[in-house]
């Protein structure tokens, strides 16, 4: 992915939700993306799927998958790519399933719309297989979403996501609304199916603890920009960007699951970004250059990238 630029048109002018975001993903790799809410991480997930809704739009950039630039594909071709090559496990699984359709129908229509229209019996069989692979009983196929628990729903979503054996799975805060035990089960399920498929995973979220356990590499986003990408171990031991540093410092402890706590200052409004480094008003180390010039993401140490003038 290179130089992705996403704008949102608002009544008061365009807003840059993602700017010059670049990274690469290897087959079978698990990449995490963290950031505060509004930092552009969900936008990133949607952008990869080319699902940015008007008034937002992707202005520039390339998303390469197996030698194909997704952003250059026709709408129809892109539609075929979704689920078949890149699948999404949605945030807020509570509402991600159509409440008035049976689970199996929600799996079946994905199969059908990707040109796989096998017989009814084959569909049922495939559905059972998929449900089994995420650890759900076959009866679930005939149920409606409201008859399932949160964890079951999320597993159903995973079942849908893997139904066409995608190369990349984007999981957008897949566990945000679940309790710890269920969270763990779901993540285990996700890890298992990923392994079975040999797919890469982009895990979007703000739970550092979860990231630490699950991903290989971690990207940090701030104000629509990717400010650091490093192997997960490196990030926790030696963060490169001051923001990452503060982020990690704010965790109660590494072993415990935790979320962000007090970083001084406010997240800047996307439509009203400060000049220079977007983080400088909150950065304790800010120098004049930070206020004037926007830093670029560069490799600071092997496999460790950051966008900071101070490094």
């Amino acid at each position: 992915m290179r130089n992705l630029l996403v704008h949102y048109g608002t009544p008061l002018g365009a807003v840059t939700a993602a700017d010059s975001v670049s990274f690469s993903l290897r087959a079978g790799e698990r990449l995490g993306v963290v950031g505060e809410s509004g930092s552009g991480k969900s936008t990133l997930a949607l952008a990869i799927l080319r699902m940015i809704k008007p008034p937002g739009r992707i202005d520039a950039g390339e998303v390469w998958l197996d030698g194909v630039n997704l952003l250059a594909l026709s709408d129809e071709a892109m539609r075929q790519v979704r689920l078949a090559r890149i699948a999404l496990i949605p945030q807020g699984s509570m509402n991600s399933l159509n409440p008035v359709m049976r689970i199996k129908d929600q799996i079946a229509d994905a199969l059908r719309d990707h040109g796989l229209a096998p017989s009814r019996r084959q569909v049922e069989e495939r559905v059972r297989e998929l449900l089994e692979s995420v650890g759900l009983r076959p009866e679930v196929a005939d149920m409606f979403p409201h008859e399932l628990s949160g964890g079951m729903k999320q597993r159903a979503c995973i079942a849908i996501a893997i139904s066409l054996r995608p190369r990349v799975i984007i999981a957008d805060e897949p566990t945000s609304a679940l309790d710890v035990v269920v969270q763990k089960q779901v993540m285990e399920t996700l890890a298992r199916v990923q392994k079975d498929l040999g797919a890469s995973v982009i895990l979007v979220g703000h739970d550092m603890g979860l990231m630490a356990q699950f991903v290989d590499r971690l990207g940090v986003m701030y104000a629509g920009r990717l400010i650091e990408v490093s192997p997960v171990r490196d990030i926790f031991t030696q963060p490169l960007h001051p923001y990452t540093e503060m982020l990690i410092a704010s965790l109660p402890s590494l072993e415990q699951k935790g979320t962000f706590r007090g970083i001084p200052g406010l997240i800047p409004l996307l439509r009203d970004l400060p000049p220079g480094c977007a983080f400088h008003p909150r950065c304790p180390h800010a120098v004049d250059r930070c206020r004037a010039e926007e830093p670029r993401l560069r490799e600071i140490r092997p496999a460790g990238w950051a966008a900071c003038h101070l490094r």
Binding site: E139, D142, M143, F144, E147
Partner: protein
């Protein structure tokens, strides 16, 4: 729940399928029910130029609600809506020709004290089912009315006067009265909306008159003596066809009507009526607004009225319109206040604005008909002294000022106690909206705090005296002054249990006595009647119980495309209201043009 949800698979689709079916069924429902309503055979076809189609407002919101009711005595029934031409009377009276047509009766004679009436009926009359008509039918009709009293129409009127009716021979019926009743035969005679319908004893006896409908096309019901039969009846139309057997034609009393079919359509409003007249769909209809007539003439020159195509586009009704004030409520119990109001009203403006000039002022609450003209002429002297038509605000102001009224800061008349001269006028029908706003404005300009409204319960308020002012007419005399005079009678010695239609709630002992005298006077003793009328008016005019305004006109459009010889000014054989009981006379006279 999990288990159950599996059984619902079929549900939604079934639901949608049923819904679609139901929607389809809905589409044809009106057509089907309209068909199913009267399960009778289709009536035969009658050519348009032998059909007389009329529109009448006796319907409600565009539909006949009484289409099954052909028993004219049931209270829901109304002779205006069709039954009027089916049942024949003992006699007809045309006020315009001032002529009586003895009909089922051949002759009648009162005893000298007017306590007994002997009627001879014609022979050779047959009911439509072939049964011979006889005096028994007359006696049966009258005795039943007496017995049923308030349960049926006209029952009380008969009950008040009649002791009994008895047949003394097949064609003779003798009626004994409780009190002298010199107007009983006249009462039974068809004119305007009053008259007794003679019904067949062999059909009606044993039936409950209050609920009997007398309608069955298959049985050729209703059974009547007239030349008509009901061919079809529904909320949308009543079709009455000619019967080819009619005693009166055989007897040479009247020509067989040329009209072969009468269609009564419910009224849908003035615009629809005008439209239908222009396109010759309709031959005869209820009054149009005076301003609409020229529009209709312009588009269909074949339409005429009583006065051709000239104003007032109609004939004078028996219903002169007054401004009623409640004589029981101060300050309107004061005749000077009533007279002041009269002087305040510029009647010609009401005519000019309310009726585009197409009307006529009314000095008295009587129509100026041939039979009444002598009486009206006889009170000229009284009207000269107290001109009921005079517009002279000065005189009105004088009257009020003399009684201690003063105009307040806002120019409103106020009495000594500070009470305003407030007159809340109510109205209804066509006369209310036509007159009300203009009248109110005229009174306001003279300092009367007047208002106008059209309450839905006008009749109720008016009859119970829950009003201060009202616009209403007088359904009284057409040839004999008694009927108008009695409208102001507050009590009667001569007629025990007489009703009160004294809407103005005016009371005058001397007047009451005079009207009682009129009541027992022979209708033909015109000299005596004129004398009594003058005496009554000597009281009435200075008192002015209600304030006469204008005459009412029936501006009936008549279409000469298919039919001619309509009742008009030049040819005034009868008044042209087809809803009146004399419509039969019009039907005798109409001639086809094609």
């Amino acid at each position: 729940m999990v288990q159950r949800s599996r059984h619902q698979r079929f549900g939604r689709r079934d639901f949608i399928r049923t819904g679609t079916l139901a929607a389809g069924a809905l589409a044809v429902a009106p057509a089907l029910t309209a068909t199913a309503q009267p399960a009778t055979a289709q009536p035969r076809t009658v050519a348009r130029n032998r059909t007389l189609t009329l529109v009448w407002t006796g319907s409600r919101e565009g539909r006949w609600i009484d289409y099954e009711l052909w028993n004219p005595y049931a209270i829901g029934s109304n002779h205006q809506n069709g039954p009027g031409i089916l049942y024949e009377p003992l006699a007809y009276y045309s006020a315009f020709a001032d002529k009586e047509y003895l009909w089922l009766a051949e002759s009648y004679k009162y005893s000298s004290d007017f306590r007994e009436l002997t009627i001879k009926t014609r022979s050779g009359i047959k009911w439509s089912d072939g049964t011979p008509f006889s005096a028994d039918d007359v006696a049966y009709t009258l005795n039943s009315l007496k017995e049923l009293g308030p349960k049926v129409r006209w029952g009380v009127d008969v009950q008040q006067f009649m002791q009994e009716a008895k047949t003394t021979a097949p064609n003779t019926v003798v009626i004994k009265f409780k009190v002298p009743a010199p107007r009983f035969f006249y009462f039974m005679t068809y004119k305007y909306d009053i008259g007794v319908y003679i019904v067949p004893q062999h059909i009606f006896s044993g039936q409950d008159w209050t609920t009997f409908k007398h309608f069955d096309v298959a049985k050729d019901w209703p059974v009547t003596t007239g030349p008509w039969k009901v061919a079809f009846s529904s909320p949308q139309q009543k079709v009455v066809d000619r019967r080819d057997e009619w005693w009166a034609a055989k007897a040479g009393l009247a020509p067989m009507p040329k009209v072969e079919r009468n269609v009564w359509l419910p009224s849908a409003g003035e615009q629809q009526l005008a439209q239908a007249l222009i396109t010759n769909q309709v031959d005869f209809g209820p009054s149009l607004q005076p301003a609409t007539h020229p529009t209709v003439f312009r588009q269909n020159p074949k339409i005429v009225t009583h006065t051709g195509q000239k104003p007032p586009y109609g004939y004078m009704d028996w219903w002169p319109i007054s401004l009623y004030v409640n004589n029981e409520k101060p300050p309107f119990n004061d005749k000077d206040v009533r007279w002041a109001l009269s002087y305040f009203i510029h009647r010609q403006q009401i005519i000019d604005v309310g009726y585009v000039g197409a009307s006529q002022v009314a000095p008295l609450p009587l129509p100026e008909y041939p039979g009444l003209r002598p009486y009206i002429a006889s009170v000229k002297d009284l009207l000269a002294k107290n001109n009921t038509l005079e517009f002279d605000p000065k005189k009105g102001e004088e009257l009020l000022t003399r009684k201690g009224w003063k105009k307040d800061g806002a120019g409103i008349w106020t009495d000594a106690q500070g009470g305003k001269l407030r007159l809340d006028i109510i109205g209804f029908g066509a006369s209310g909206p036509a007159i009300g706003p203009v009248l109110t404005e005229l009174l306001k300009r003279q300092g009367v705090d007047a208002s106008f409204s059209l309450p839905p319960d006008f009749d109720d308020r008016f009859q119970k005296g829950q009003y201060t002012g009202a616009i209403y007419g007088h359904g009284g005399s057409v040839n004999d002054p008694y009927h108008t005079l009695r409208l102001y009678q507050s009590v009667s010695v001569a007629v025990p249990g007489a009703h009160l239609v004294n809407f103005a709630r005016w009371k005058n002992e001397a007047y009451n006595k005079i009207v009682d005298d009129v009541f027992v006077t022979d209708m033909n003793n015109k000299a005596r009647l004129t004398e009594l009328f003058h005496k009554a008016m000597e009281i009435w005019i200075p008192e002015l119980p209600d304030i006469p305004l204008v005459h009412n006109f029936h501006r009936i459009p008549m279409n000469t495309t298919y039919w001619t010889n309509w009742p008009t000014e030049q040819n005034a054989y009868v008044n042209g209201a087809f809803w009146h009981l004399t419509y039969a006379i019009v039907l005798w006279n109409l001639q086809p043009t094609q």
